[in-house]
């Protein structure tokens, strides 16, 4: 029963976070110079030539916009294309890059953890760490640009397209400072379970500890994705632009170039939604795996 209460609390929290995030993003775009004039005609059915005649209030425009969103209608961009259909094609590609980045960074960090724990050759380990830190401090787009000049990018094959997405994820996992934090977090997570009192108790009793380590690692992976998702989205924006992948980042830069407020609103809403969904799933997953994390019913 405690889990049901916790779940409903988390659902309520998710709705509040999504609503307030969209409100904040809408407010920033609405009050930015020229934003109001570009949003109003799209959502209130006005022609852009009559925008100076009637001034609608902030809440009127916001409620019209949110009602449209609830009906799964995000309006049209400057080229009269449906924003929702453009987003639908872009989202899987961006998610793909982020997913590959998390996957590869887990592989790198596990290698480093093994190195760190074995400690066979200190000099070799130190040189490896300096080398890894050197590539950590390089901006990913420079390497991407050098690779990006190859003829791979001008292919229409679907398999090659996903190969490029995986390549972008690989670069994102190595460069732009992501890798270093992953390693640090992995070390601390594995260290924390070993010092837990209940873990020592299990060892003393001779019970199996595998289940608890597995749960801790799963919680750690979701924690990793939740904590770093915003940074990963920022990195994927640059890499999509470099590799010519038609994802959310490419749409974002396009909307900035053409000052397309409607498309910008859609993208910001989608990105905010992805992060909020990550937070929600992280909390739910943690509660399922670790009963101590449940909000109510605790002693």
């Amino acid at each position: 029963m405690s889990f049901v209460y916790s779940l409903s609390y988390e659902l309520l929290r998710f709705v509040v976070v999504v609503w307030l995030t969209t409100l904040l993003i809408f407010t920033i775009i609405f009050y930015s110079p020229g934003g109001r004039e570009r949003i109003e005609p799209v959502f209130l059915g006005k022609s852009s030539t009559f925008t100076t005649e009637i001034k609608y209030g902030y809440w009127q425009v916001y409620s019209a916009w949110s009602l449209r969103i609830l009906h799964a209608d995000m309006g049209f961009d400057n080229y009269h294309d449906d924003v929702l259909s453009r987003l639908k094609t872009a989202i899987p590609r961006s998610i793909g890059i982020i997913g590959f980045a998390v996957f590869f960074s887990l592989i790198w960090s596990s290698f480093v953890i093994i190195f760190d724990n074995i400690k066979i050759n200190l000099v070799f380990g130190r040189i490896t760490m300096i080398f890894l830190f050197a590539i950590f401090s390089l901006p990913a787009y420079v390497i991407g640009r050098y690779i990006g000049f190859s003829s791979l990018l001008f292919t229409n094959s679907e398999i090659m397209y996903w190969y490029i997405i995986a390549l972008a994820g690989l670069l994102l996992s190595l460069f732009d400072g992501y890798y270093n934090e992953v390693t640090q977090a992995t070390k601390s997570q594995i260290g924390s379970i070993r010092t837990e009192a209940y873990y020592l108790m299990l060892i003393v009793k001779g019970a199996k500890t595998w289940r608890h380590i597995r749960n801790a690692v799963f919680i750690y992976i979701s924690h990793l994705m939740f904590m770093r998702i915003a940074v990963l989205i920022g990195g994927s924006v640059i890499l999509e632009y470099v590799f010519n992948i038609r994802g959310l980042g490419d749409l974002l830069i396009q909307s900035a170039r053409t000052r397309d407020s409607n498309l910008l609103l859609g993208i910001a809403l989608t990105m905010g939604l992805i992060v909020a969904l990550m937070q929600f799933s992280h909390r739910i997953m943690s509660m399922v795996l670790d009963p101590r994390l449940r909000n109510v019913g605790k002693i």
């Binding site: 976070v17 640090q184 837990e196 910001a268």
Partner: protein, 306 residues
């Protein structure tokens, strides 16, 4: 969600223990990092104080290293060595603004979120309710995509510059600062020496600002500051690439201002002029690596003073 944060707070202590262990195990490294930190500080001060106007010389453009200058010249015939070294002056004011905003907002959010209770407000525990609200606010700040907000700002402001970008990064980064501080304060609140301080009649302000924040949360603050600085510099370099191709030229700083982002962008267009990219990339590695050591040195000096 108290328990959620309490369980997570254990990880912070282990990261701190790692830093302390590092200095105990490597006394030579500790000494080296001390001098490295001093060099970096001197570099920043000199770059800020020495007047610099890059000389454009198209006759010497793209000349390789050891020909007309030690590390070669870029597309406008400017010396790459001097241009790269002086480029750090671009980051000084944005770093100060970003850290000011991030720690200003982050400290307030952390003190409200960690239930420090300076006074009794209502008949019920209002501070407990505030902790829940702050937790939601932190979720919202983390859900805001930073690069989207920066792009909106640059698209719509009349005179955008790097200081505005730093301010936005500061607001968004304050969530991370607050989250880490809340975890730390929760651990410290239940420790014995704070109980002792309360029992011996030390004032609330002294306990919070002196014993909790200044003496014991220093590691968290320094680590967060370094993470934010690294984020700002990498974002400037990445953003120059987008901005140069979207707005052409980049509008975040005056066109002749030395910038690593610009040097890397110009150099990476053509592999044959590798020296324009290599020097700023090396300086970037040196600076980011040194920031880590500066953090460790500051923490070590604090530990020795204790």
């Amino acid at each position: 969600m108290q328990i959620f944060e309490e369980v997570q707070s254990k990880t912070i202590n282990i990261v701190e223990a790692d830093t302390k262990q590092f200095h105990l195990a490597n006394p030579i490294q500790a000494k080296l990092s001390y001098w490295q930190s001093l060099t970096i500080v001197a570099w920043f001060l000199l770059a800020a104080l020495i007047p610099y106007a890059p000389k454009v010389n198209y006759q010497l453009k793209n000349s390789p290293p050891f020909e007309s200058s030690l590390l070669g010249r870029d597309g406008s015939g400017r010396d790459v060595l001097v241009h790269g070294v002086m480029a750090v002056r671009l980051y000084i004011l944005p770093i100060v603004i970003m850290l000011g905003v991030a720690f200003g907002i982050g400290l307030i959010l952390a003190m409200l979120g960690a239930e420090l209770r300076p006074i009794r407000i209502l008949w019920f525990d209002a501070w407990k309710a505030s902790a829940g609200i702050i937790s939601v606010i932190l979720d919202i700040l983390e859900a805001l995509p930073g690069i989207v907000i920066v792009l909106i700002l640059v698209t719509n402001l009349e005179h955008p510059n790097l200081n505005w970008v730093a301010m936005i990064l500061g607001v968004i980064g304050s969530a991370k600062v607050a989250r880490e501080l809340i975890l730390k304060i929760r651990v410290l609140k239940s420790s014995d020496f704070i109980d002792g301080a309360i029992a011996s009649g030390v004032s609330w302000w002294q306990i919070v600002f002196k014993h909790i924040l200044y003496r014991n949360s220093f590691t968290v603050l320094v680590n967060q500051a370094i993470n934010l600085i690294i984020l700002l510099i990498l974002l400037e370099i990445s953003f120059t690439y987008i901005a140069d191709t979207v707005w052409s030229p980049c509008i975040l700083y005056p066109p002749d201002f030395p910038s690593w982002g610009k040097m890397i962008f110009e150099g990476s267009a053509n592999l044959s002029t590798w020296w324009i990219v290599a020097w700023p990339m090396f300086l970037l590695f040196l600076l980011l690596n040194s920031f880590r050591y500066i953090g460790n040195t500051v923490i070590r000096i604090r530990e020795e003073a204790k």
